[in-house]
Symmetry: C2
Amino acid sequence: MEPQRRPGGRSARVREAVLDATTAELAEHGYQGLTVDAVAQRAGVHKTTVYRRWRSPEGLVADALDLAAGRSWAIPDTGTLTGDLRALTELVRTGFTDPESGPVATAFVTAGLQHPAAAEALRTFYAARHAEAAVIVDRAIARGELGQEVAGTEVVRFAVAPLFHRLFVTHEPVTTAHAHQAADAAITLARAGLLTGEQAP
Amino acid sequence: MEPQRRPGGRSARVREAVLDATTAELAEHGYQGLTVDAVAQRAGVHKTTVYRRWRSPEGLVADALDLAAGRSWAIPDTGTLTGDLRALTELVRTGFTDPESGPVATAFVTAGLQHPAAAEALRTFYAARHAEAAVIVDRAIARGELGQEVAGTEVVRFAVAPLFHRLFVTHEPVTTAHAHQAADAAITLARAGLLTGEQAP
């Protein structure tokens, strides 16, 4: 049996190999340890190819985020707003604290603080993630759990923000109880009419 | 007239000079551009002194945060909970978006993502800041604006978290309207009974 080929031809296969190698290097060495040479070697691609197409570690990170933004995410569907949003915040929590995925996710956030291209890629990545997760709110509106005026992406932002704050700013522990508290808080705010759309400047 | 001497003797003066130089270097070059040599030169201190006492850029950042944690912060006192908390979140917003203080504050957060010593220093720094800002909630409880059961540090965390999330994770703009929304949200959560103390694990 032939090994399964990813679709998209040689260029797409090179891209996947290089970006998978980028992710593996980030997991092992973090953003500050990411080099184009190590990524090329791990991907089995000549380093001039990688330099020509991605130029730098931040170029690799930005493209890895673009690729990730295009992949869909398994949004919880438990039948209730509280169940869905608590499962979502718990997914975020475990994604960042898991020994395998955590360092990669942290490396992406770190890169965003150091390079405009990575920051822009993160902005796009999270816009895609929030839009996808907003289906939780759409379903709750359809079930009559929330009013039509509630903005789904705002609920998602407020549900995850307290976790990111503890993880990446204050470096406080984040437990399942914190994930549930943040989800419940976002629902309370949505019902109180505070999450109805983007803020005017 | 003699120039004013900071208290604490020569060792304390060297520390202040070195940490002031650290802050100035962070403002100009960010965390990734911070070197012990440049700090020593700017402070007018021999570089072996700096290496011996602080060892590395993360050592400098950690000590600069320790020094900052000991300095008190001008907590708003407007006479109302909404006034105080909106002023506080606006202070956080302008502190991070100001062209002078913003890069330094961002450099501290970036360092925390890359080095355990900086992360630990940030944890201590924010614990001190949150405890200080909690006086806003104590005053509101005394005025009867909030119940006795509300935990001040939790209100502060929830008031600032949405701003940090936009600034450092999603790289979305943060306006005064966002600062006010986040403050109002924390008050709503406090009144709904969601911010009564640390979460059990």
